[in-house]
């Protein structure tokens, strides 16, 4: 546990009460489902920027990027973060307009339109699993332990519980408004941290002198295959359910497009600042300012505890909490929508009114939180779980969604069903197989399956599951019948 000053704890507590307060202030009767789930489809560019950025960036980015930068330097930005910006541009100029033209409320509804209900249910299951807040809750357990000295499950309950309360009560309005506050906190505290970090290590020039030269090589010693894998993780942006929700909630396509384009500059700056702060931590470890054996994923927090004065450190910790709260609330709400709008209404109660849909969404939010909590306290290797959950959506819905949006001739139900179904099944089976039969290699931070002389990393499975999904899609086009309108 890091020792913080009293003022730091006061700031953190004020921040937590503020989040609950905003959520409760929005705890009112929503007149319809669009109001509860999509904020009445009225979001303008500034709030779209804040909610897109704060939702998509959680502590997996903050600690994951910093971990890579601590061990390898600028390649964390050039090789890992930068490729994703191209996908934001694709989303802005090719995807958002097509999505906005229709009256969709959820990603699985797109599958229903093009391929029928069965494809929708498969997509809803994939989206629900993807959106479970296991990683967020695990992160809260860690943060609660590091900042407050709580046992991990207490941190999960209290910090995760706060985000749950305002999401349940306020719906998407509460999510979007708290996201906006969390956005400015995340960004400003990180920017403020830079001069303090440079001050404690002796300046940027000292960092250049102290760190190995390889730290300033843009691609480092990453293999081309690993670079391709990292770049391909950006594919999730094209089928990211929280992105889709914000596109549906936008006032117009132009608002979304502008938000994504402006957002790229802030995303890019955020990633670069995290990279540099982690490199400063490495310089600090070499100089003995922080302990030499600091864990890479703890390096950012460690250098901040040393560098930041009392009060500013409290703001930084509140900013870190913001980073994760803004992610958990959004994914829980999407998961709730999957339960109510994508399964309950079409499968069980087609004539469900808005009040009932809102109630069932709240149940879904609660269910996703509970399942995420169970996963967070049950799994030893959260990294393996993260890879599995991250790949499940790409593997099952990427092909049918993009096929549906861009190739209207191929709207055959069998294509969507086989593509989504085979993608989902192969992801679950192969990931479970490698997590059971393989071994977790600490140095590689992934599960590895040895088959003779072959080493299969868990991250490589996507190169099997996406082609399987594509093959299912092609089989469905060849053998399937046209969708009856």
């Amino acid at each position: 546990m890091y020792s913080l000053a009293t003022i730091d704890y006061i700031i953190i507590v004020i921040y937590l009460f503020m989040m609950v307060g905003v959520g409760i202030w929005f705890s009112k009767r929503h007149s319809n489902f669009d109001d509860y789930f999509l904020a009445g489809r009225s979001l303008t560019t500034p709030i779209l920027i804040t909610t897109l950025i704060s939702t998509y960036y959680g502590i997996d980015v903050l600690f994951g990027d910093s971990q890579l930068a601590f061990t390898d330097g600028v390649v964390a930005w050039f090789g890992y973060a930068r490729p994703t910006y191209a996908f934001f541009l694709i989303a802005a100029f090719l995807l958002a307009n097509r999505l906005k033209k229709e009256d969709f409320r959820s990603l699985p509804e797109i599958l229903d339109k093009y391929y029928g209900k069965k494809a929708r249910y498969i997509g809803a299951l994939a989206s629900f699993i993807y959106s479970l807040p296991a990683l967020s809750l695990y992160g809260f357990g860690m943060l609660g332990n590091v900042i407050m000295g709580w046992p991990p499950f207490v941190g999960m309950l209290i910090l995760g519980g706060i985000a749950l309360v305002y999401t349940l009560t306020g719906g998407f309005w509460a999510v979007a408004l708290t996201d906006s506050i969390q956005f400015v906190m995340m960004c400003v505290v990180l920017a403020i941290a830079v001069p303090f970090a440079f001050n404690i290590i002796g300046g940027f020039d000292t960092m250049i002198e102290v760190l190995p030269i390889a730290y300033f090589e843009s691609m480092g010693d990453l293999s081309i295959w690993l670079i391709i894998i990292y770049a391909s993780t950006g594919l999730t942006i094209l089928v990211e359910p929280t992105f889709y929700q914000r596109i549906f909630a936008a006032k117009s396509y132009k608002n979304v497009r502008n938000a994504l384009v402006i957002g790229i500059f802030i995303w890019g700056s955020y990633d670069w600042v995290v990279t540099i702060l982690a490199m400063a931590a490495k310089a600090g470890a070499i100089q003995g300012i922080i302990q030499a054996n600091v864990a890479p994923d703890a390096s950012l927090l460690t250098i901040m505890v040393v560098a930041l004065p009392a009060g500013v450190l409290g703001l930084f910790m509140a900013g870190v909490l913001s980073t994760e709260m803004s992610t958990l609330d959004s994914y829980c709400l999407v998961a709730g929508g999957n339960v109510a709008y994508d399964f309950y209404k079409p499968a069980l109660k087609p004539d469900a009114g808005d009040d009932e849909l809102i109630q069932k969404t709240r149940w879904g939010v609660g269910l996703s939180w509970i399942l995420g909590f169970i996963m967070a306290i049950s799994f030893d290797q959260m990294l393996g779980l993260w890879v599995f959950m991250a790949s499940i959506l790409i593997s099952s819905v990427l092909v049918p969604i993009l096929g549906g949006l861009f190739f209207p001739k191929f709207h055959k139900p069998l294509a969507g069903q086989l593509s989504a179904g085979l993608g989902l099944a192969s992801t679950i089976i192969l990931n479970m197989y490698i997590m059971i039969q393989g071994t977790f290699v600490v140095a590689e931070e992934t599960y590895v399956l040895h088959m003779g002389s072959l080493e299969i990393f868990q991250e490589y499975l996507m190169y099997l599951t996406v082609p399987i999904s594509f093959m299912g899609y092609m089989l469905g086009i060849i053998f399937g019948k046209e969708k009856r309108s």
Binding site: T50, S180, V188
Partner: protein, 42 residues
């Protein structure tokens, strides 16, 4: 100052001031957004 350091300070400015500008624009939109969120009880 090296190119890396210049790039870093530009990023700090974009991140810090850019986010504050976006937040101010959001605050200007809040009254309009809140009007839309006020609904009659169902």
């Amino acid at each position: 100052m090296s190119g890396w350091e210049i790039f870093t300070w530009i990023s700090v400015i974009i991140l810090g001031f850019g986010s504050i500008i976006v937040f101010i624009l959001f605050l200007k939109d809040v009254p309009e957004l809140l009007k839309k969120s006020e609904k009659e009880p169902s």
